[in-house]
Symmetry: C2
Subunit: 373 residues, 2 copies
């Protein structure tokens, strides 16, 4: 028997086959259940694809955020990105969902670019590198449709003057044993990354500081970031703030066999700046649930549950629930070949990227409007 690869999910490493139900238990979060979905539907109308299909699957205090909202107390959104390389489709998933939440709940978004963190954990990255990625990644973010005045981009290194006071107040309440237990720091960890969790906590409290009263915060983000908010929730009340609520999403699978999309394996990722030919090439080489031969596929059918091409339709590119059900049925019964699916997905991705890349160019002219000060 092949030994199962162990599941690892930390802010800096995600590997192995991810068991999301187990993660909910391990991390002590709550599943987003039917009752919660029903409440959300009451505010958003039809549920967003990422909720309907369980990409956002777990939460902390989402019910509390909805209580507050229903009692007339508006919340702000907070999410972010570690700018260590170019943006791929996997990164866009929570951003697209965040934009949906913003529109549905009229919520201001604080978006943190943790260029300090990425500099501190990557031996090969300079501050110039992470500043460049911050700029490039911000273009992708804005291309998701965010509007000036509704989103603030926090660049940790440039904007530290806005962050340091709150970070110090957080840091004073967090000791080394706590971050060692939560993040697995070791004596060989550098003192910058040991301090960093205090910086990542800041945007949870920045709206409360700015407005002079407590403002609820909801963080939509991939589940690997949960340790940060566990720490932040622990100290929030000591500083007189609300605990930040969270919605956790799964990782978009890479185009290879197993694992999430990872920029360190470029052949498994569709980058937002890829050319149509690169997309075609990558999708053509993608891992699918298909049979080795056309004959077998026709006779036995494929397995969409392990197919990366199907996953892209399911989570991003086939909005229509009936169409996606039909695609699954046809695959399982041998009614569709992998080549057909790959061709269709290539078209969908390229159509999406054409628009995204245009918006990304336009973002250069308005980027300044999203910056602090």
């Amino acid at each position: 028997m092949v030994k199962k690869e162990e599941m690892v999910v930390t802010p800096w490493k995600v590997s192995g086959r991810i068991d999301y139900e187990k993660l909910i238990k391990q991390f002590g979060t709550q599943p987003i259940d039917e009752e919660l979905l029903e409440r959300i539907r009451g505010h958003t109308g039809r549920l967003h694809l990422q909720l309907r299909r369980g990409l956002f699957f777990s939460h902390r205090d989402l019910d509390w955020i909805l209580d507050k909202y229903e009692a007339g107390e508006k919340f702000v959104l907070y999410t972010g990105r570690g700018p260590s390389g170019p943006v791929h489709l996997g990164h866009l998933v929570p951003w697209i969902f965040t934009k949906h939440l913003q529109d549905a709940f009229d919520a201001k978004l604080y978006f943190q670019m943790t260029d300090d963190e990425k500099f501190l954990v990557n031996p090969e990255l300079t501050l110039e590198d992470t500043a460049r990625f911050t700029y490039e990644n911000a273009l992708d973010l804005i291309a998701c449709g965010f509007e000036p005045g509704k989103m603030v981009i926090i660049r940790d290194v440039k904007d530290i003057g806005h962050l340091y006071r709150i970070a110090l107040r957080v840091a004073k309440h967090v000791n080394y044993s706590t971050v060692k237990a939560i993040f697995g720091f070791e004596d060989s960890s550098n003192i910058g990354i040991i301090f960093f969790p205090a910086i990542q906590a800041v945007p949870c409290f920045i709206a409360s500081e700015e407005e002079g009263h407590n403002v609820p915060v909801l963080i939509p983000a991939a589940i690997d970031q949960d340790p940060y908010w566990r720490m932040t929730r622990d100290i929030a009340s000591k500083l007189g703030y609300y605990k930040p609520a969270q919605m956790h999403c799964k990782f978009l699978p890479g185009l290879g066999k197993g694992g999430k999309m990872s920029a360190s394996m470029p052949e498994t990722c569709i980058f937002t700046t890829d050319t149509p030919e690169e997309v075609e090439q990558k999708v053509w080489n993608a891992f699918t649930g298909g049979r080795p031969t056309v004959k077998e596929q026709r006779e036995l059918g494929g397995d969409p549950s392990i197919c990366t091409v199907y996953a892209y339709f399911y989570y991003l590119f086939e909005e229509d629930d009936e169409e996606i059900a039909e695609l699954e049925r046809r695959c399982r019964t041998g009614g569709v070949l992998c080549g057909d699916c790959k061709k269709r997905l290539t078209e969908r991705i390229n159509r999406f990227l054409k628009v995204h890349q245009r918006r990304r160019e336009e973002a250069k002219d308005i980027l300044d409007k999203f910056l602090m000060e």
Copy 2:
């Protein structure tokens, strides 16, 4: 036998009877010897009182700084203050000497107010408290005679935007085991103070960054700050900078029996804002080397080596070497009574404070000229 109180010298605690020769060995620094004094005299003319009388007694790379200076390469000075309370005479000692070095070597001074550090280590201090002390302490600093354009006051919290990039580059090279070994941090230490050594390192490199080439730095400071520079020297070359050189001074004794002047025991300190009556009262209660009765004093003489009143004349208020030698002789032979000395010291301190307090008021009008940006 009474157990000798153990000597403790760290950046946050100084207690016990200080054995400065032992500190030189323990810390691995060099004594400022006759040869070095001779070299300094070549540049400054008559040696400053604090060098003649061994208040500055230890160094690292002072010979190298002089080599550089003599080869035409100018250095900058860096020292600082943890603003956790009002300034007393003990704090002024290295500042007065720094001003002397600045004049003699035409050196720009970077002065760091570590309000972040003091907030992080004192449970009872808020950031508002440390900001207030920063302001108050800066007035005392400027009152020592520094001129705008020749000194930059760095207020860590306000000026973090100028410090963070270098601090991150330092922090990336320093791990937890290193700061644990150097500063005695424990698992219960907060993550802010663990990161802080990176912030205190920054002014060592700020001139090099600003000028675009390596600039030698000399740090005159009390010896308890040495651990910071040990760490900084370790990583300087990894970042392409010179190692900072240092001159270490002793602690001005408090007016009580044993120990340095400590703001936590206000009766043992002369604060710069004390009234003439407060000074009189404190000096009157000072611990001396005198005998219990006038008769015994006249017959047996006193012991200036343990007398705090004598120490104040020696290190601060009696510039004339012949006068101080005469005072010592007369004390030892019973030719002077403690009451006489106390009266004279009170007069000297009050004369000094009258000028200092006027300059301190005037400093309010020019403080802005010393700030960053």
